[in-house]
Amino acid sequence: MARLDANKATLVKDTLGKLIDRKLLASLEVCVRCGICAESCHYYLADPRPEHAPFYRSEQVRRLYRSLFDPIGRHLPWWVGAQRPTEESLAQLAEMAFSTCTLCRRCTLNCPSGCDTAQIMRAMRTVAVAAGLAPEMLVQLADASIAREEHLEDFKEIYLEQVRALEEEVREATGDPQAHIPVDVEGADILYVALSGAHTILPAAILFHEAGSNWTLSMFEASNYGVFLADTARAKRITERIVREAERLRVREVVVTDCGHAYTTLRWEAPNWFGKPFPFQVRSLIELVAGWISDGIITVDPTHNPEPVTYHDSCNLGRNSGLIEEPRTILRAVCQDFREMTPNREHNYCCGGGGGLVATPEWTDLRLKAGGPKAQQVRATGAQVVAASCDNCRIQLGDISEHYALGTRVVGLMELVVKALVPQRAKGHPLEADVA
């Protein structure tokens, strides 16, 4: 066992020490290893080995914590199972935190004490990043997002060209030759932050157009790989791009596309990093569309989606953000045969693709295996279509559909809405602004 050199040992201790706030300390101390949370984790359900139980994982981090911060752990390590870090143990802890926990918080909901294992795993990820043990791909993706702002001029034209190409499709879908995708419009009400790629821009553009919203498209993508790294400095830097853009354009609200971690980040986490609420409201496109449907601002016809559809609650949107009924309002309006998975809503199983796992190819096998419980859930509904409201989930659901031969098609929630849409605006339907 190679001992950590003094610098690294200090780095590990300092990094973890800075992270231990009241919440983390309480979660580190509260677990009695009762074993009750084991099956709440999809990894354990898929492969019931001790190391897949949430408390097993968090206990590995506790051993590190006790060895550094608990007097009993420091002086009588064998008595409380404290373990001083070595090169090997640190590498194992890093791998565990990044590959066997999607930070879904299902175990938190199921622990009689409410122990936040996800927070413990997140802290371990932060320590791993500091020790240079982060998965390379997550680092590259986070840094690419930062580079996108630093070299905005290089990408702007290419991006605008992409947007202009999509405008054609918006016109076709809405039947309105005037339809367009506004970018960089000062004084717009809404700044819409999509992901890279057409599939989150196009449906939103069609729906904003139909609702008559005064919106503008962000130059940046909503995803934030700094969050998966649990590297607040990078995560904040990536979020800042959007905050600055929103402030510069003086928008009233920022609307985030269907993306679980991006919404949780901007809606709930990021204001804490900045220490104050944002000067704009943050909503998910899902909330807007649910409202438009309920208020009759857009017209949808469920017969356009006749096949059985089930919905996968993203852990970030549902369990971690409370967007639970809004997607259901949408699905009941746009599909003829909407079927719930069991369990659902805040109790839903993680698909296995969260926490950055879809972007770390070294753990693909583990990810597919951990998707087993989700595959069973989907199969039990008999649905042909799985609606997803998060891109990470969408990729994972597609992969498990193939891996487990489910024969299901995975579509974005907004794509179902667009399919059900009966364009009215070209016919002079009242605008959102008029109704409001």
Binding site: M137, S196, G197, A198
Partner: protein, 79 residues
Amino acid sequence: MLETKVDKVLDLKGLLCPVPVVKVSQAIKALPIGAVIEATATDPGVLADIPAWARSTGNEVLSIERQNKVITFRVKRVK
């Protein structure tokens, strides 16, 4: 497009962000410095993502072209 020797061809059509970037990054790691990858993708996200990724990792995008819905790009391993 310049006639460059292509060492590896990747088909990324139908894949959504961030998978194209992940696949390119993985493939380039397996090639020697100076090698070139040519990839085709359909997700227009790559138009900005690949150059941004190349910048932050110190690799070089030799070309990026779009024909209808298919985007073809070439990346050279520099580091």
